[in-house]
Structures are given as C-alpha cells and as structure tokens.
Symmetry: C2
Subunit: 346 residues, 2 copies
C-alpha cells in the first residue's frame, strides 16, 4: 500500500486539500502559509509520498499521453525494418512530445479484436495516426474517435479533409532528382520500381516523375518505367549492355537502388559514368555502399515533430489551418550521380 495525500495530511496536521495545494498546484494559485507549506513538504518527503497518477488522470480527465496508432489490417509498423520510416518518425514524435511533457504510448487494443475501443476510452489526450494505407474502414474508425487526431503519411483529401495531416512532399522530392540529373546533362532518364511495392506512395513518385520530365520537355514512354519483379530477373535483363537505354535511373526506394548499383557493376557498367542512380529515402546504408548512393531524403524526424506540435495545438483548442502540412524533401547528393571517383586521403 502506498502513501496517499491523506497520510501526508495526517502527519502534517492539515487536510488533504492543503497537501494537494502545496504539492501539486501551480505556485501562483496556491495560498498557503509558508510555514504550513514547509510542514507539508517535510512530511511528504519523509513519507516518500508520490502522487498517484492514475487517480489524478481520472480526476482531471486528461492523461498527458499521446497515442500512436497505425492503419489497421496491415502489420504493425516495425521500428527496425525497412527504411526506418516509422523509427525516425517515432524519434520525432517522442522528442516533441517529451518537450511538452507528454508521454507516448503504443497501444495494442487497436490491433486486437476490438480496435475501436482503444480510440476514445480516455486513455489518450490525442492521437497520431500513422496511416499506412487509407481505407474506408479507417475513416469510419476515426469518425468515432472523440479525441483530437493528426494523421501522418497521408493526404487530407484521403481522409475527407477533416483531420490535420503531415506528409513529405514526394512529388517535389522527385522533382529535385529529375532536376539534378538534367543539370548533370542527362536526358535519357528512367524510373524503376518494385512490382511488389506499387502502393500509393510509389505511384505518386512515378506520377511526379512523369510530370517533372514533361516539365523539362522530356517525354516519358512506358519503356522508361522499369518494373522489377521479386525474382529480380527483369533487373538483370534490363542491364544487359545492349538493352540499357538510359544514362540515369531514378529508383523508387533505396533498397532497389542499391541492388541496381551492384547488378549494374556485375554487368560491366560503371556507376555513375554509364548509369547514374538516385534512390529514395536516403537510408543509412547510402553511405556504406560504393559508390555511395544519391537519394531523396524525407524529413522524417520533422514529420514526427510537426505532427506532434499540430496535435498539441489541436488539443489546446487551436484550429489547424491549413489542414495539410507538406514538408519538403531534400536531395542528398552522393557518389552514384557524380563522375569523380572516390579518392584516398592524401
């Protein structure tokens, strides 16, 4: 049994109310004599009193906790696998939340039998919904939710333009890649993607590729879009010397881009002089492979931070406008789009 306000009150010869005021109220509002306050503090310290957060949360109807959710129906996002989207996002969320005194909770109910129960049961003051794949079901869930929500990794229109969203500007990122290649003198530019990764985001990147190429006066035909299957046979077929028709390739994600580099070299092509390659996500290993991989970088950490800031704003009652926050990507230029070979330190 742990020490309660009452115990402290008894020891200090006051009522629980006074103890509460001394220990937990904001200094400005408290009106307790210095002597009493001191007595209370000493008693609390001697007894080793700690506030019961559950009781307080219950009473105050707020938890100072933010819940982080993810789209249902798909596997829970992994911190460690893939291009660290979720991991870096979480770093940004946690960082911002902690700055404002909020905890961050990952909640299982949302993945279990009755996910909807997790939404508005008083557990969270607000939610960050990491949307993997927008769906009608998801939207219905959100509508039943009684706490403020911010959605990450989706467009406001995909959720009925009803919730604040935060997402990286994928098209703009592809624009950077296209522009960079054109500046380097390339005109035969292809776009490669994984046949198994034809999700909304990949398609958005592909569309942006078409758009920015057209904007630069370059036509894109179907043969400029290289779709690679799981067996990677298409990759090797495309890279046979007589079939290689591009001088540069934008790849929808870093993993496949890395495979492109290795395979290209195996086929006797030099990267970047025969084929320049740009990936997407600027994953950690971009610096470890040779040549290092030029890649579009999403501001993942800031995405998480911005989502959290918007949520805290929303929880404070401030309306969010505009609803959608589009954070620009940057281009990390590395060896796979340069013609200079890496040099030894002199």
């Amino acid at each position: 049994m742990s020490i309660t306000l009452k115990d402290v009150a008894k020891m200090a010869n006051v009522t629980p109310t006074v103890v509460s005021r001394v220990l937990h109220n904001k200094a400005s509002t408290v009106r307790v004599s210095a002597a009493t306050a001191e007595r209370v503090r000493v008693a609390a310290h001697q007894l080793g009193y700690r506030v019961n957060v559950m009781a307080r949360n219950f009473r105050e109807r707020q938890t100072r906790t933010i819940g982080v959710l993810n789209g249902r129906g798909l596997a829970r996002p992994s911190f460690a696998k893939g291009p660290r989207y979720f991991a870096t996002l979480m770093d940004g969320i946690v960082d911002a939340a902690f700055q404002h005194g909020y905890s961050v909770t990952l909640c299982p109910q949302l993945l279990g039998e009755h996910p909807e129960e997790g939404l508005s049961d008083g557990r969270f003051d607000g939610l960050i919904w990491y949307s993997i794949e927008p769906s009608y079901d998801t939207l219905r869930e959100l509508e039943r939710c009684s706490v403020p929500i911010v959605i990450v990794h989706a467009h406001a229109k995909d959720f009925g333009v009803r919730y604040p969203t935060v997402i990286a500007d994928n098209p703009q990122g592809i624009g950077l890649a296209v522009r960079h290649l054109i500046d380097l003198g390339h005109s035969r530019i292809g776009f490669a993607l994984d046949r198994d990764a034809m999700n909304v985001e990949t398609m958005e990147r592909l569309e942006a590729f078409r758009f920015h190429m057209a904007g630069a006066g370059l036509t894109v035909t179907e043969s400029d879009v290289i779709k690679i299957g799981t067996d990677r046979l298409g990759l090797h077929e495309y890279l046979t010397p007589e079939k290689l028709v591009h001088s540069a390739m934008i790849v929808h994600a870093d993993g496949l881009a890395a495979e492109f580099i290795v395979a290209a070299q195996e086929h006797g092509h030099s990267v970047p002089s025969d084929l320049a390659i740009i990936g997407f996500d600027s994953t950690e290993f971009c610096d470890e492979i040779r040549p290092t991989l030029t890649s579009v970088s999403q501001p993942l950490f800031d995405l998480g931070g911005s989502a959290t800031h918007r949520l805290i704003q929303l929880m404070g009652g401030t309306p969010i406008d505009p609803l959608e926050l589009l954070l620009p990507c940057s281009l990390d230029v590395r060896g796979s789009t340069l013609s200079l070979p890496p040099r030894l330190p002199s």
Copy 2:
C-alpha cells in the same frame, strides 16, 4: 461528456453493477440472465458506450501498461540511429507486450527534472530499463522503485544482482567469429575498435577476443589490437601494404567494419582473400555492401521479447531464476569471409 455505465444502466433498466458485469466481467463469473445481458448489450451499443480506462485503471490499481526507460544522464536512445539496437529491442518489447494485452509507454518524466517520480507513481505495472551505462545513480533510482523491473543490456552484477537482466552473450559471439576464422585457416587475426567507442560492451568484446584466441592457442599482443581514431588516419596507416600483418580482422562494430572494407580495397587489398573481415551487429547494410559483411548478430528482437516475458512473469508474482538471462549470438556468414567471388545469376 461521454457515455458512462450509468447511462447504459438507465437505458437498460438495470443498475450500473449489472452493466459492469455484462460488459466487463469475465464470462465465467457473470451470473446475469441472458435476456438482461442482451438488453444491456443493445443499450451499450446504441449509446456507443466505451469503458473509461482511466477510471478502471484507477479502481483496479493496474494499468496494463509497461514503461520503457533508459539510463539517465545520457541522450535518450534513438529508434533510428546507430545499429538499431533500441529500435529492434522495442520491436521485440512491443510485440510481446501486445501479445499479452499490455501497452508500452515511453515516459518523459524520467528524463526531466524529477525523473524518480516517474518510477513508482502508478503509471506502469512494470518497467523495462534499457541500461546504456550502469551507474550508481541509476541503481539508487531503481531501489526506490515500487514496481517490478527488468533490465536489458546489462549484467545482473552491475545492478547488485537484484533485478532480472537480459543481455546478449557478447563473448560467445566473439567466440563464433574467432572459431569461424580459424576454421577458414586464419591464424593472424586482429581486433579493431573505434577509439571513441571504448565502452563496456566494446571492452567485453575485446576481452573475449583475447580469451578465445588464447583458447585456440593463439597469442594476442598489443599490435593485434588496432585502435582507430575519429580521423581514421590509423585505419589507412594500418592498411598500407607493408604494414598489414593480419589475414583476418574482427571489428567491434559494423560501421567501422564497412569502413575497413572500403579502405582495404582502396589500398589494393582484396577482401576477403587478402583480408577477411567480421563485423558486429549484422546491421541491415551488411547485405548492401560488396563484399557483403560477415557479422555477429545479436538476438535483439528476442532480447526485447524475453525482457517483456520476464517482466510479465514478475508482475504475476513469479520469481525469476536465474536472474541473468544470456541470449546467444549467431554468426551471419557473408562475403567478407568467403573466398568465392559473387557470381551473376546464370
């Protein structure tokens, strides 16, 4: 204002007690007529009733939430940076916790002004302490804590042999590396480490290297331990053809191992034929670099899962014995310790 038990009770013409029994009690214990139960369920559904978790937690003195902490005084562990230690650990923790219906919370109080208050304020049913660096201060904190604790990434003796711990068997992992190299015929084996990463774990690996080498009848002198500074000059100095005296190198971490591969190649050495290299952590990029990097792999996911299982066991009142759980490492053999060159698919 949200719907409470009372509202449902009124609508179903029963008392809150009955509603509670129907909606939240385990089926086996409930003794309510089927008709009443149905009436209650309908009412609850119509009203869109959701249990108030804060009230329940408060009442039941349990939160079904596990807190994840980290050593104080150092930066909070990042999900995304480094060799994903924390990220993968968290995946394991979250996975196991969710299986048992527990939520996982990352808590700021523990990093703020009064970190000790977060420990035993009723917020968590149990804690997983991710120990970055054991310290006397940390130990004192833990002693004040009233909920069960499991420590990850530390030895039981570093915390007074008082708390269950879970850690990867680093020495055994190094043993695998040494054995593998010896099996390949190597006898001139060195150990390289980052001068800036001389932490407990690195030293443990170095000691294990000495131990296992001795066990194999190979003497290790100071010149077999290569300490690389931030400027990496030592790396290039070591790799000049006339100075290279080893045929194989175990590197304390993958990042430096990757740099070894690149630098060795720049200096005209072939990896693995002139110099075989083994890293530690089996980071994702081990498969992306060429040659791919053989590396010792810590069971990080299982480490998190085991910690969680031990905690749940402990919260259930079962004593943990033995206190320290040592999970074995494995060796992911890749190209940097093979003599066969990578081949094109035929």
